[in-house]
Amino acid sequence: MAEEKNKQTQADDMPDWSAYRGVMIVIEQRDGEAKKVSWQLLGEGRKLADKLEVDLLALVIGHNVGHLAQEAIYHGADKVYLCDAPELKDYRTRPYSRVTLQVIRDVKPEIVLQGATATGRDLAGAIATHLPTGLTADTTILDVEPHPSRLLLASRPAFSEKMLATILCKQYRPQMATARAGVFEALPRDTSRQGEIVPVEFAMEEAEIAAKVLEFIEATERFDIEDAEIIVAGGRGLGGPEPFKLLQELADALGGVVGASRAAVDAGWIDHKHQVGQTGYTVRPKLYIAVGISGAVQHLVGMQNSDLIIAINRDKDAPIFKAAHYGIVGDLFQLVPALTEAVRNKRRLTENVTG
């Protein structure tokens, strides 16, 4: 970071918040399947809770979602509030915010976090206004100051990712934030972890809920670049849609998927669902190969946490090399097919020997 972190924020000018303790993660699910960001936030929340020496709490809302309460414990929660009712089958703002508000008012966590997904932002925006309290959107770095200030340091990109801003909420509790998917790391699932599950009653009648979900149309062709463990991404350097076939072949040889920079998406060479970066997806695969991508900050924020980054670019000064573990300066049209061939050969070789 270019600038030193601020000195400890003064706790003197803050009201007494001793009734508010604990870090709460609102688990997002659909049809009994949790969103990955929820487990990622439990992983990050665990660190915050340990630093504050408090419990990590989770809130699970839905219908037939008891197993998710157990899963939340396996992923780091100490205590899970579970509200399970038929009226809660589909996400609807009113009943979900009613439950969340009720739990927050009863339990009084000092921090409430949820994913910066469509649903997470919908719910958080409603809750924060009701309480009321401050809400920081789309955070990518979370930290806390130790006792006595116990402030959440919620940092998020600002001005098209050109800057980062740290946002505090001193005068209200809980402190709320939504956090970007793919940025934080989930803990390994640990089935030996113990925790408590607290049932929460649902106190609303269907007749009180105006919104009716008529239908949910699943996205056809679920292409989850966020979940991919190997990504071969191409940019403007490819020069057109055709060379993406070369990338696909390399990705196939490695068992991965194809990603893209915004320049390639905007040019219409590949669909937006492949886009990595600020206005695309944030990914952290085991292996990211960037091909013909210059490495603009808006692209880097989406992939710089990948475990291993290899960059191929013919410009030795391209900023992508600053983020890469291995750099190859050269022409992608020669290098990518050579790599594909080498991977295939090596695999064939080992398969023959073993077979």
């Binding site: 600038e3 925006g125 909420c169 679920r222 291993l308």
Partner: protein, 282 residues
């Protein structure tokens, strides 16, 4: 008749903002102010509804006097009325304080010009970039909240019900609910039309309705502007460009480079993890 309010914020085009490399601060000078483009998709949807079933459209902006420019743009496109809520006391508002003032203004719009059935906001702003003001306004006014909408499928005026399609990460949720509603608009919703010549002429002469704190007798001054904003920007900084130790792999030919890359890959646990099978294992 259907009455639609569209919330439009005038924002600096943050895509144009540069960082001064010497001071690490934002260069705001010369950055054009534009109507937040998501909001214009909300306006376009309102205009589309007006074209189809008839409606009165009021556009609403909280901001300094120059924001009049964006309101005039909305008039040129076909909005019927524009309200600018402006006061020094509103400055420094975060999403909570903004939703309070917009909520009051919509109540006054309803009182002065007739009941409101639909409020549009954009999905998010270019500068605030939170997407929180829409839900905030819905909450303040106890409206049904419909976020991330890319299609208004049906409006049933007799029964006061509306059906929309919401675009989520993993699919489309089709929801029907009762009006009044607040809808946050996605850019996928429509293509924003161009202003016709008569619209431009009308806009040039148009003066928006201007309200200050004095026009809201019951306003709680503790809830507006900087004072009414729970979130505080403690600091901003420019993330240092990453510069990790890069090892450059070279060779006489592409094949040699490829071999060098593979040697590196085979030093990791990737081959085992992904079943590429390391030679050593055989």
């Amino acid at each position: 008749m259907l009455h639609i309010v569209v919330c439009v914020k005038q924002v600096p085009d943050s895509r144009e903002i540069r960082i001064d490399p010497k001071t690490n601060t934002l260069i705001r000078q010369g950055v054009p102010a534009i109507a937040n483009f998501y909001d214009m998709h909300g306006l376009e949807e309102a205009l589309r509804i007006k074209d189809e079933i008839g409606a009165t459209i009021t556009v609403l902006c909280m901001g300094p006097p120059p924001a009049e420019k964006s309101l005039k743009q909305c008039i040129s496109l076909g909005a019927d009325r524009a309200v600018l809520v402006t006061d020094r006391a509103f400055a420094g508002a975060d999403t909570l304080a903004t939703s309070y003032v917009l909520g009051l203004a919509i109540q006054k719009i309803a009182a002065d010009f007739g009941p409101v059935h639909i409020v549009f906001t954009g999905k998010q702003t270019l500068d605030g970039d939170t997407g929180q003001v829409g839900p905030g306004v819905a909450c303040r006014l106890d409206l049904e909240q419909l976020t991330y909408v890319y299609k208004v499928a049906n409006i049933d005026m007799d029964n006061r019900r509306i059906t929309v399609h919401r675009l989520l990460e993993d699919g489309v949720q089709v929801v029907e609910t009762k009006m009044p509603v607040l809808i946050t608009a996605l850019k996928e919703m429509n293509h924003v039309r161009r202003a016709p010549l008569p619209g431009m002429i009308k806009a040039a002469q148009y003066q928006p309705v201007v309200w200050t704190t004095n026009d809201f007798p019951g306003i709680d001054r503790k809830q507006i502007g900087l004072k009414g904003s729970p979130t505080i920007v403690a600091k901003t900084w420019v993330p240092e460009a990453r510069d990790i130790n890069t090892e450059y792999l070279e060779g006489e030919s592409a094949e040699q480079v490829a071999t060098a890359v593979l040697d590196k890959l085979w030093e990791t646990d990737l081959p085992e993890r992904f079943g590429w099978q390391a030679e050593g294992e055989v």
